[in-house]
């Protein structure tokens, strides 16, 4: 990373660590960019006037405050549409990707109820999709949850076989939020088009990071979110195809009829302006950023593999976001590893980090054993990470894993040649 390159969002408590190579490292390091991203300072700058000066309601038709706000929102709509190969009228603003997923799935389910009651999705979708589908099951819809391979990919033949004349929607994500695995979205889109079934994709983790084009992929509905791409939280969009075919949705939020009646509610103009700017920046910088983050991710992976044995990658490396790494560090429980690297922000698939005491359902669906799922760590690299940060993270992870393996009875037993899978464990 060049000197003086942008960094932000860490806060006052950060420490400065002087390194031998004269590169100052600020702690803590944020490497959890699948959870959220910091707002790019250029995005924030664009947003600020819309809080205090151009604060109008975009739906106010009678004065310049309203016109100004509307113009800003429409400009952002163009920027967002341009990034994904859509037209501005196909962008519906929402409060978050969760709402976008709900609107797409529930909206189609209700609107096309006469046509059919079958929905196809996948086992490793985000909960915003899975739980929405589960709710629809209670209302009499039938849902197929396609399994995934060890690589984290669906089988297109299984998708084809699951289609019935009652199928009204296929909802399959592009990039997974835990393992970064990319589904064969172009093939899914082609199949959906051929069968005349609507295709929704939760593209939240992909848009702004890798190329995504609704025309090329034959996508009818797509969820995207600003805060995953250096924009603000609380603003997102649903792409709704208007031509070939024209997709209709039943609203789930009723009111003043904003967003062509599909999503009532006053527009979050500053957020939308930021979302638009974030899309413009992403589009312009994507090729360089993808290459740079892929380089950093590979450096991270190689650094860990060079110094540790029994590290396992979860999901396909080939079909994967360039900035994601999800690895299991055998014999070291994930939460204790996070505790050891407490100046690095990453996340774990371990049960202990969740409220449910169940390890990651995504890893489970891949067939990763629960023992290894408990040892998994997700690294999400982002625009503001540097090579020096990656090197620091490698050092910290390696030293912590080595220390915790010394503490691990499982590591000791494995080294003594005990087959842990054959043990009769006395669980509590």
């Amino acid at each position: 990373m060049p000197k003086g390159a942008a960094r932000n969002g860490i806060g006052e408590k950060e420490r400065i660590l002087e390194r031998d190579d004269d590169m100052a490292l600020k702690l803590p390091i944020y490497m959890d960019n699948h959870a959220t991203t910091p707002v790019d300072p250029r995005v924030l700058e664009t947003m600020l006037p819309y809080f205090t000066q151009s604060f109008g309601n975009a739906a106010s038709r009678n004065h310049s405050f309203g016109w100004e706000a509307e113009k800003a929102a429409e400009n952002a709509r163009e920027q967002i549409a341009h990034l994904i190969g859509a037209t501005a009228k196909e962008i519906i603003f929402t409060s978050g990707a969760t709402e976008s997923d709900n609107l797409a799935i529930k909206g189609v389910a209700e609107m096309y109820r006469e046509k059919g009651n079958h929905i196809i999705t996948m086992a490793i979708e985000h909960k915003a999709v899975l739980d929405t589908c589960k709710r629809l099951e209670k209302y009499g819809y039938l849902v197929t949850y396609l399994p995934v391979s060890r690589e984290g990919l669906i089988d297109l033949d299984e998708l084809r076989a699951a289609l019935t004349d009652k199928t009204i929607l296929i909802t399959i994500m592009y990039a997974n939020n835990e393992i970064g695995v990319l589904q064969p979205i172009e093939e899914i889109g082609r199949l959906a088009k051929e069968k005349g079934v609507l295709f929704h994709t939760d593209a939240t983790q992909a848009v702004g990071k890798i190329p995504f084009d609704v025309q090329k992929f034959n996508v009818d509905l797509a969820s995207l979110s600003a805060h995953k791409m250096y924009g603000p939280k609380g603003v997102a969009a649903l792409y709704v195809r208007r031509r070939n075919p024209r997709v209709q949705l039943s609203a789930i939020i009723d009111g003043g009829g904003h967003e062509r009646g599909m999503r009532s509610g006053t527009l979050n103009v500053p957020g939308i302006v930021g979302f638009g700017k974030a899309c413009e920046l992403a589009e312009k910088e994507m090729p360089q950023e993808m290459a740079r983050l892929r380089g950093l991710r590979d450096r991270l992976k190689e650094g860990l593999f060079a110094r540790l044995d029994e590290v396992y990658i979860n999901g396909s490396m080939e079909h994967r976001l360039p900035h994601n790494l999800n690895a299991s560090f055998a014999y070291v429980e994930g939460e204790s590893l996070l505790m050891g690297i407490n100046d690095v922000a990453v996340s774990s698939g371990s049960a202990c980090t969740s409220a449910t005491l169940e390890p990651s359902y995504v890893l489970k669906a891949l067939g990763v054993g629960e023992d290894l799922a408990h040892t998994s760590i997700r690294f999400g690299l982002g625009r503001f990470n540097t090579e020096a940060e990656v090197d620091y993270v490698v050092d910290r992870v390696v030293e912590t894993v080595v220390r915790l393996r010394e503490l691990s009875p499982l590591y000791e037993m494995a080294k003594e040649g005990v087959d842990l899978k054959q043990m009769q464990w006395k669980a509590d």
Partner: protein, 140 residues
């Protein structure tokens, strides 16, 4: 989740980490938990058969910081105690000492189980007498 200072201290400076010779008839080994559950504790004690005093204790734990702290604390508490006293250690005392939140109570339960399992293993070995070859501790 925020950890208590005591949990952090045990996590950073775990007491009595290591292993005792499991075939030694005066060593009891308790291995509890399961990798699928995210917690495995191995707690070992060296007990003087003449005095019933726990002369040494060691542990190794696969688990979260609270599990590591619970087992580290357990080794501290059992050392120097008589077997009967060690059996009286309750998980609730561990919870109190380490300020464990409700979601981590199972870590303290596991530590109590490990103490009991180690003592049971020791008694089994002692009862089996010298004529039998000492068996490696099993987890069943």
């Amino acid at each position: 989740m925020a950890y208590s200072e005591k949990v952090i201290d045990h996590y950073k400076n775990p007491r009595n980490v290591g292993s005792l010779p499991k075939d030694d008839p005066s060593v009891g080994t308790g291995l509890v938990g399961a990798p699928e559950c995210g917690d495995v504790m191995k707690l070992q004690m060296k007990i003087n058969p003449e005095t019933d005093v726990i002369e040494d204790a060691k542990f190794k734990t696969f688990g979260c910081g609270s599990a590591i702290a619970s087992s580290s604390l357990a080794t501290e508490w059992v050392k120097g105690k008589k077997v009967d006293e060690a059996l009286k250690i309750k998980n609730t005392e561990i919870v109190k000492e380490l300020n464990l939140p409700p979601v981590k109570i199972h870590c303290s339960v596991l530590a109590e189980d490990a103490i009991k399992a180690a003592i049971a293993d020791y008694k089994r070995k002692q009862g089996a007498g010298a004529k039998l070859q000492a068996q490696p501790a099993s987890a069943d």
